[in-house]
Every structure is written in C-alpha cells, then in structure tokens.
Symmetry: C2
Subunit: 409 residues, 2 copies
C-alpha cells in the first residue's frame, strides 16, 4: 500500500465535468488500495475574479483581507470534489488549509509553511477515506487565514507529501510532463522521463511554468519524489528526483527562456567596497526582485554594474537607479526592456568541459549577439535581443541534440 | 459609547456598489464613536448558486461538505466589506464564524450555537476597529465548519449581540420594519414602532419573513433589543423588546398569514391514550413538521384528529397517515392543500376578552367559513379556504383598526 499526494490545478477543476473526472481518477487509484491525499487549486479564473472584486473595493486591497477572500476559491473545490467522490461511493473528507493546520508565518498573500499537523489526515487515511485539502492556503499562529502566493497549491501538495512521507507527489496539470524546451517555440521539444530537482529548479525559475519553483525547492529539501503529469491524458509524465546514474549521461536536459526580463546598467560607479549593496539596496527596499547581476571592472578605477529585473518593474527600477546614480556620483544609467534570457540547464555540465563554448559558438554561428552572460553549476544563461529568442532556442536545442532520446545518442 | 451589532442580509450586500454603501453606513456610525460589529450574509443568489453546484456533484450532497462549500459565501462578503471600510479609512477586521469561535453543535446545515468567544472581538473593538463577522456559520468541537440553516445570519447577529452585551442589534433588510400585515395584501398596513418578542415570534412563524424565528427566540432569551430597519432608506424601523406599558394599549399588533399550509384529517380514531403519539410519531420520524393540531372528541368513543403541514409535505404526510389509519383501524384520511392560515397576534389580547368573538364575527360577516381554529395566549389562528386569504386579512385589519396609530385610537 502506497501513499500518494495528488495535486490538481485550476484548469483540472475548472468545471463541474472536470471535477467529476478528477473524482473518477482519484477513485480508480483509491480502489487499488493506495492511500490518497488530494490537493486542489481554485477553479480556473476564480482567484482572478475574486482579486478583481477586491480591487473594486479597495485600490490596494489589505493583504490580510485578500487572503480571507481568495482562500474561498479552494474551499469551494475541495467541498465539490468530496461530494463527487461520495457520489461515486468513495468516502472522502475535505479540509481547508487551516483545518489540517498548515501553519504558516503571517506574511499575507505570500506566506511560508512552518509545519503541518498530520493527525487528522492520518486518521482519515486509516479509515480508508480520501483526504481532500485546499491548496494555496494555511493559517498563522493567530488563527488568521494566509495564502502562499500564486501557484502555492503545488507547494501545499509537496509540503503535505513531506509531512505524510508520501511515496510520490503527483502534480496533475494541463501538460503531460517537463519538456526539453517550450514546444511552442521548438516543435521538436521532447518530454523528459526524468529530471533532477536542481535542473527542474533552473528550468522553473527560468520560465518553464509547469511547477511553482518553491514547490520544487521543498520537494528537493524533503526528498519528495515529484511527478508532473497530465490531468487529461494517460501517461507517466516526468519524474523529478535526485540525480541518478541514467541522467548523468545527458549533458543538457533542457533549454529554458524568459521573455519578461529587462536590463539596467549603471556605468562609471566608483569601485569601492559596499557599492553593490548601495546600488541594489534601494531596489530591494522597493520590493523589486533582481535576477541576473554582472559587474565589469572598468580600467579607470570605476566599475559598470548590470542587472536584470522583471519587465513590469523596469521603469520603477530605472527611476530608483537614477537617484542612486546621482548619489554615488556615477556616470549614467542605461537600460533595455527588449531583451530575453535563454539558458541551457543540465547536471551533466558539471563534469563536462566545453558546454559553454558550444553554446556561444552556436549563437555566434546564427549571428546572435550575446549581451550578458551568467553561469551557475548546472546552467548557463545569456541575455540576447528578444527578436532572437526563437532562433536561439531552436539552434541550441539542435546543437545539444535534445530532440534525440538518451538511448539514441 | 454604545456597542451595536449590525446585520446586513444578502440583498444589502448583493453587489459591489451595495457593499460600498454598507461600508459608508457603518463608517458613519463608527465615526460617532460607537463600537460596531457587522454580521453579513452571502451576496444574494450566491448560496443558491453554490447549492446548485453541490447538487450537480452529488444527488444528495453530504451535509458536512455542503457546509464547507456554502460557508464561503459569507467569507467573501466579510473580506470585501473590510476592504471597502479600509478604503474609507476606517479600520476593520473580518472573521469567519470559526475564527471568532462561534462554537456550535455538529448538526451540519442546521447547527445550533453553543457559545461564542468574544476575546478577539473585544480586543479589536477596544482598538477602534470595526469587527466584520461572517454570519450563518460556526465551527463544531472538532473544528469542522457548520452552518446554521437558512436565515442563520440573523441568529449569528443576535448571538454576537448577546455575547458582547450589545446595546442594540440592528437587522438591516429590504423592508423598513415590521408591519401590521403584509402591505401587498392590505395596502393600509402600517409599520409598527414597537413589537414584543412574543408577538414577533408569532408573526415570524406565521409567515412574516422579516426575521428568522430562531433569532427572535435568541433575542428574547438573552434580552437583546432587536431593531429591524431598511438598508436602503433612512428611518428608525421597528424595535423588538419585551412588553412595555405603551404596547399594552394595543390589543392586536398584526395579522399574520401563511399560504404554505395543507390540512390532513384522520377520522374515526379509537379514543385511547397514546393515540396522538401513534398518529404524529411516524410523521415526525419522516422529518415532517406539523403546525396546528386539533382533536375533536366524537360521540362514538372515537375521535377525529386534524393537523396541518407544509404544503410541500402534503402528499408524503398523507401516504404515511393512510398507513397509520389502517394500522389503528381508523375510519379514513381526508385532506386539503388549498387552505391558508390567518392569525391575529397581540400581547394585548391576554387581558382583553372578546377578541376571539370579534375575529369570528368579522369573518362570518364576510361569509368566510372557518375550517379550523387554534389559539395561544397572544394569538388566534384560523384556517380558511385559500381564496378568502386577502379578504380575511383586510377585514381583520380593519376590524381591529390596525391602520390607525395607537395615538389616534
């Protein structure tokens, strides 16, 4: 007897019919004798509908109240799925995040899970009940409702799987697995049977929106085997676990990209200790997330400092940076919000030289100018003009032979 | 400084604009320095929408899950109202029934309140916050969400007013008070400034759907001064308190009626002890509520037994009664589902003779045949053919001079 946590996203529970089909899938698994915990998102569109209502009430909705409001979305779906399971003769009990005591901190709308009390769920599972838990939400030490931020249902599912020591955590979504790159950009993109947590982290953070990044971190930290699969078609999806021998043979697992980047440079910054903090501090204080950071030492005892932010934050970040520029006596601020980031990701590159040069040569052969480079142990990212995105992805996909399966290489 | 509990029903919070106008009303009262607790229903139509969804999932939705589902309706409105108050610069905090610990029994979909923990609300009120509580819902000792049944938000409001020892509990609704009878039947119907709990109970239970009967019982039990008033127009509404000297001068406060009745008679029942139980036991076991009960002793050592039920239950009750008839060896079962009940209500009739005869004479003068009579201390009810309803109400309204104010009498 195995214990599985199944998570279904908003599209998978987007209508009465789809909830019924989720119920059938769950019942089928439960009938095999396994213990099943289901974590659900709100019906697709519902969270946005509620946020729109909130904005009609208050120009900047109070975070605590927003959590009270939007947490109703998942409460509706868990009740409906339990009813659908009862209709099929399958015993089930629904819980809100607060009821199974998914205890979080008090940072409303982006709370972090602290601990989970598994007693109620254990008792229900031992009674052969399916446990249906509202994703995305928890409760803080004061009994206030919190939510985990967009995509938080994935995190809920992984956290529950960790707390219950589940055999696998299945993330059902509208895609059938993790691909070597976005098939809309490169039709030859191939579904991966396996990927490591680290690779998945890099893929997710770079724009492969299959899984919320925090849930992958969580899964890695607690060693929860994650499986991404489709709600709508059969198949075994992509399994995400720690590196294994089979995977080592692949140099590169995938090509990730991100269209939402914008780049800012401050030039002629006096090259003194603490200057990076002086530049990025005000950006961080304004709650703007910084992605890539590159610092070039210039020859005149001054330095150029470049970083990327989300495109939506470009103008705000630029204004702040111009203020910093005059305070530091730096030369000037330049920027570009028509750039994208393209990355190759793979644990294999750790032990193989020459990956970077293959990447740069491939791009050069296509006449694509590289505007910025950043590397990590298992990833190399370049910033290029956005017009080159598709070309870069396809060229790299082909150069690293990602359209071929491992066996075929 | 006074403490008020304000309750707004579904129509009063039925749209973004209406919630904003409730916020303005609440802020105005709060600005006067009073402490305000607001209890809200779900947006009108929302509870029905959710119940319809539930029925699509499960032919007979599990009560526990139904409570998880429908309690979201009020959770949405309390969050939205808090936001609207924040937008007006008025500090406010929302709570679900479970969060202020409106502890109930575990009878899902019709739970009863056991106790309320006022600590959180007291602290907020002392911080000059408006407290906004989801009506209709609570939590049982196991932490499961419960609901109080239709109209339960009134009960929540009164229970909170009792727990907080509020000065008055204001029930805002779409009518501007309690009337001597339904103005749609008798245009001369007059709004009452005062009515007693007992009269209101009789009026409510007889079809004046202004307040949920349980909330009036509660208010009477805990001596909470209730005021019924309009969300949409100014005015002081109708105050419901214990009998006072002013009210004693009115013989009759109002005419209530109920179109939903059906009448069943079993004749020739052996007149033995316990026979009433044998007749009504199976009806109660089938969860059919019985309203009026009349037993006539016939001359042949047998008895005729008549009672009324809700018209929707007529056929079901008749089938059960026919079974009982053959078991008891009674003569036969007859019934009529085209009857109505008309009642005169007033604490004044306690100390005045002749009220009943005035009533019967008034009806006789109009040629209305009385099919059944039942009396209580402050009410006389008659059953008549439904075609006579309007005529009976208008004739009685005029006979007891209800169109005239007390001062004018």
């Amino acid at each position: 007897m195995a214990l599985y946590v199944y998570k279904f996203g908003g599209t998978s529970v987007g209508s009465v019919e789809r909830i019924k089909s989720v119920a059938e899938k769950v019942k089928k698994a439960h009938d095999l004798g396994d213990q099943i915990v289901v974590v659900l998102s709100a019906m697709s569109g519902e969270t946005n509908r509620l946020i729109d209502l909130a904005k009609e009430m208050q120009s900047q909705p109070t975070a605590r109240e927003l959590d009270v409001l939007i947490s109703t979305g998942e409460q509706v779906t868990v009740a409906l799925l339990s009813m659908a399971l009862h209709q099929l003769g399958c015993d089930a009990t629904s819980y809100t995040g607060g009821q199974v005591r998914i205890l979080t901190d008090s940072v409303h709308t982006k709370a972090r899970i602290r601990e989970i009390d598994d007693a109620k769920m254990r008792a229900d599972l031992n009674d052969r009940k399916v446990v249906v838990v509202a994703g995305f939400q928890g409760v803080d030490e004061f009994g206030d409702i919190t939510t985990l931020g967009r995509g938080g249902s994935d995190t809920s599912a992984v956290a529950l799987a960790a707390a219950l020591k589940a055999d696998e955590c299945h993330i059902y979504t509208d895609v059938d697995g993790v691909y070597t790159t976005d098939p809309r950009v490169e039709p030859k993109a191939r579904r991966l049977d396996h990927i490591t947590f680290e690779e998945m982290l890099e893929m997710a953070s770079l724009g492969s929106k299959v899984l919320q990044i925090r849930s992958v971190e969580f899964a890695g930290k607690y060693n929860v085997a994650l499986r991404v699969l489709s709600s709508f078609q059969e198949g075994c999806g992509t399994l995400i676990t720690y590196e294994d021998s089979q995977m080592e043979s692949a140099l590169i697992s995938g090509i990730a990209f991100n269209r939402d980047e914008a780049k800012l440079t401050i030039t002629g910054v006096p090259d003194l200790p603490g200057v990076a903090h002086k530049i990025l501090g005000p950006i961080a204080d304004a709650n703007i997330e910084v992605d890539m950071i590159v610092q070039n030492i210039a020859d005149d005892a001054s330095t150029d400092f470049t970083f990327t932010v989300h495109r939506n934050e470009y103008l705000r970040a630029k204004t702040i940076l111009e203020q910093t520029c005059s305070e530091l006596g730096a030369r000037k601020v330049t920027g570009d919000d028509t750039i994208v980031k393209v990355s190759i990701v793979g644990v294999g590159m750790r032990s193989h030289a020459g990956i970077a040069s293959t990447m740069f040569k491939t791009l050069a052969d296509e006449g694509i100018n590289i505007r910025m480079i950043a590397t990590s142990e298992i990833k190399i990212s370049v910033v290029v003009d956005e017009k080159y995105l598709e070309l870069a992805v396809r060229a790299l996909h082909s150069a690293f032979e990602l359209d071929k399966t491992i066996e075929a290489l």
